[in-house]
Symmetry: D2
């Protein structure tokens, strides 16, 4: 390990852990010192792919290792809080797979711990680091899209059913992170419905509507029990509209110069004359860089420079607050739940 | 006009009226006697296409004509009730474009009037007569799909904004009619959210969740302000899953032999072992017959034989009750609204 | 008929004739006086749709009618020559469905007749009047595409098998007309292969390569016996590349800012360093105007003003010369056949 | 290395070599002993991914190693002959990347050498080992498709331009191997056309027609300079038709119950009545197993058991004979070139 490299320990080598290890290992700024997992066969797989990385089934070994400055957590969602808290208390910077923790209250405790110790606490909202979402953010920020009327996403496939969290904590979390990143408006309430098709298991299908202070509305359709895989988002704006299809190999983003025009508006809705504008479609070239590579480089940069990460713990908190409210709404069959304090305003007060 | 033909009058020659006239005119069992519309230029267009049809700007002329046995109504939604009531009172059988009327109460009054006079009152739920929906119904009835887990539909495009009804009364009505036709379960509550992007105009974008007595759930996504047109429905079943894409020229229905298997179920959700089954896909051949042609033939058959139409007024009522409840839910930002009496049970008691 | 309208007679009311009649009827500059066909049932269909048009089973009636100035011919391909010749000899302007005649020699005789009598002789190369091909022509003419490297088209579907001409005279003719229109290079030879799958019937599947004087090459794949319908053309250029998919409802043309760069070129091919350029994709808005409507309006304009039609008889001749050469090449299993005189040069000498 | 494992040496670690090493390394029947390449940086990459594999820049080291029983060759096409010959002369079994050699004559010399020494000589026709092509083979062999009318393939993308072989030797070779595998008919002649868009480089775009003894015809469209990637093959049969799209993630093969019916056939082609049959479409489930994994396992099985490989050197010869004939036809602008001796008959006589 070179002196300027960040020593990294990764806990959890199941589905996502190997991707973290591979990307940290490929990054010149980082050095993967050790991996821990309770499952010996996973550790054997890790040693085969990364012979120079130490493996252990005791998480504490990572925390005790002084050459490890940062911990990346890729364990099941319900363990995130205790894993992250222990790492922070050991003085490690932390990158946690989404969701940051299983309740807003637990996230707040992690934030307190990290702030007190002046450690980086970053949440792995991977989509923020995809070239596609970065391009959307750029188009929105340049005002090419105009006022955002809506964000409407479908994220469905067959599997993978999770046993400890419902489909909104597993899939809708991606859209909420993207929404938090690109939409400059304050979410004020959420209405969500869901159902389970395996008795006793978490909800595997859900629909979530997020109301904003201004005219924007967001809707997310997530499902683990779909015959085909869909990863498609429509973003309607006053100037242009976007279709973002993450399954397209190259043309992931299509920008439509389409919309409506309103003539002769008056108090009487029956007097409206609505026209339809249909112009060109444009698919900007999207880089093929792997998002997780950009993300781990950003994390090591923040560790080195003490900078605030793009997907900092506050963004993780805002997303978890909506997930939590959505869970309450689901229990009440869609009854809207207010987001008590406009998250961004509070964030500003704290931050 | 031959003696055995049903004399038909059509009121409204805007968007849908010409299709009704063309299909009645092509049917050997019907004879289009006259068309009425307030707009003289539309009547001129009608005369050009159908020189033998009389035209008038007085609806009363149709009602007074003894050679007209049946009236087809294709006027704006808010006029359906008065148009249909007048026709029934003149002793005419009636076919009404969807929705049957603008409230469940008004639909019930029309039903009373039709039953007292022993007249046919049918609602134009066109999709029930499409070969695609008929094929889905056949597959569901043969139990090829198994228990229906969900119906999830996206029906979005750019336009046509209506001035007197919201997008759910214009577009979701199609899905609710299909759901009422193919799903043998009782809807008990609805949660819906919506928003408008033209101040003062009806809601142009909505999401509706329909809860059923058993495990099934239905969701409908409708939008007049979408960059691309989508007409796609996913139907998840315990045995098979269907993707119904109405924009496909030939392969409108794809049946996936896919699903999940649950092993080792226990009280503890963490113990579930869920397996994924991926088999063949099959796209049954779908006839290309125009739905409206089948529908007008069914209507004239019912008029001749006194039979109960497939899309009878009771089905129109069940659909309007859901639309009405959805409107209330929309006003309360997704608060669930109970459907007071299970519609099918009541229908059985009455019918 | 108003004085300024061109009186039109249409011969042939099978597959294409009704489209011609409908579009001439809808055009203010034309008046469809009469239609002739040998089949009485087709004439009955015509009378139903167009009550004011006279019908006859004698073509001579059209030729004898002094109110008819122009004849549109939509009969089987092998009859085009005699039909067109008789019309010209009766002093009528003529629009002939593609191909103009069944051999280049016969086309030349028609051209002589029309030029001697100073009558318009136009061939119905419909695609030249589509908004999509007009947009491609515009892009090529503005040099947005650069040097055209190739035109590669696939035009296949199930049916309609013709009994008097092979698939190249039926389908490849469309591509040859488009190529003649947009590519500013001189075709010098053709190699084609084909086969028949119904003994005794014309070839139902063919592949045709057209060599040009410069680097451009064109290839056309046509087939009446394909499981799915494809209407797709790739146009490769030195600056940009086009994918033209005529079955797309709106995005028919996609322009790709893609290509290659050649570095360090030398005599030694092994020294080449070829780079790949991948930029944005752009789908220009395409009007939805029906091509045949534009075409009949252009025809009546030419009749009124004596202008040379875009799809004049010379373009029909150039296309038939290639079809004829392709037929010879097919008989010789792909042996290249030289196009004896560079068509455009000769055309310029004559024209 | 366990005793029962086949010791393997791989020469060439550019584009394809890493895939070979990875699959041999993952196979329990093989052990990758060493890799050779002239480029030191590639060897470094190899050592990083496979720390236990020896690396060398001298091919002779592999030939001299007695623990290496088999050599896999993944060097540029023009070196295949000398590489394979040296390996055979050293008593090694050989797997050669396609094409087997750069002329039929050279392939025959390799066959002689391998037969004299009773060594396995196998060509890497990867597609024969894909689950998709195996499914097509199965459908054809069961006579589900009926008589094969045609095989028509499009295999185009942007890149990778080769410097030592034309696009037919790089891409069409895949289709010719598939055709050789699934079509039970004797190819008798080939007509091909091609062009180059980089002066001095090999042809980058080609079209090839292969004529068979019976009614079947095959056509292959290959291009390194296409705006989009296409990997699509249509197979027309008398009973059913297949669309094989290799870019589809799951539904790679669609079987269409479509075709024509011929009534009232007579000598007079004009009397034919051709009907069109449109039935269901069916997409059989295709396994996701990596083809190269199956292929290296098959190779090691053949080495162990002395069995004849599916893609034996005779199949490599038949494919190269067609490629060679196609090259001659290209030089003569499509002039058909006879395949002198029907390959399968000769193969039978020899084999």
């Amino acid at each position: 390990m070179r002196n300027d490299q960040v020593g990294v320990g990764v806990v959890g080598y199941g589905y996502w852990g190997p991707n973290l290890v591979r990307n940290f290992a490929a990054s010149p700024q980082a050095n993967v010192v050790a991996v821990s997992d309770l499952d010996q066969s996973r550790l054997a797989t890790c040693r085969l792919a990364h012979p120079s990385v130490q493996t252990t089934n005791r998480y504490q070994d990572l925390l005790d290792d002084p050459t490890i400055e940062a911990i990346a957590i890729a364990t099941p969602a319900h363990t995130h809080y205790e894993m992250a808290l222990a790492a922070l208390r050991s003085g490690k910077h932390v990158l946690v797979e989404k969701p940051l923790a299983s309740s807003a209250d637990l996230v707040r405790r992690l934030i307190d711990e990290a702030e007190r110790r002046r450690l980086i606490l970053m949440v792995d909202h991977t989509f923020l680091y995809t070239p596609a979402v970065q391009k959307i953010k750029e188009l929105v920020d340049k005002d090419d899209i105009g006022d955002i009327y809506y964000y409407d996403s479908t994220r469905v496939s067959l599997g993978l059913f999770q046993s400890d969290v419902s489909v909104i904590w597993d899939l809708a979390v991606h859209d909420l992170a993207i929404i938090d990143h690109i939409i400059d408006d304050i979410p004020i309430a959420v209405s969500a419905t869901a159902c389970r098709h395996v008795a006793g298991a978490p909800e595997n299908m859900a629909h979530l509507t997020l109301f904003f202070q201004n005219s924007c509305v967001a809707h997310v359709n997530v499902n683990w029990l779909s015959p085909v895989k869909v990863r498609q988002t429509f973003i309607g704006g006053s100037k242009k509209m976007i279709v973002y299809n993450d399954l397209e190999p190259t043309e992931k983003i299509k920008v439509y110069d389409k919309g409506i025009t309103v003539d002769g508006a008056s108090e009487n809705a029956h007097q409206f004359r609505i026209g339809y504008r249909a112009g060109d479609m444009w698919a900007p070239h999207i880089s093929a860089k792997e998002a997780l590579r950009s993300e781990v480089e950003h994390f090591t940069d923040c560790v080195r420079n003490g900078a605030r990460p793009l997907s900092d713990a506050q963004s993780g908190l805002r997303v978890v607050e909506i997930l939590e409210a959505a869970s309450w709404s689901i229990a009440a069959q869609g009854k809207p739940v207010l987001l008590r304090q406009p998250p961004r305003i509070r964030a500003a007060a704290i931050g």
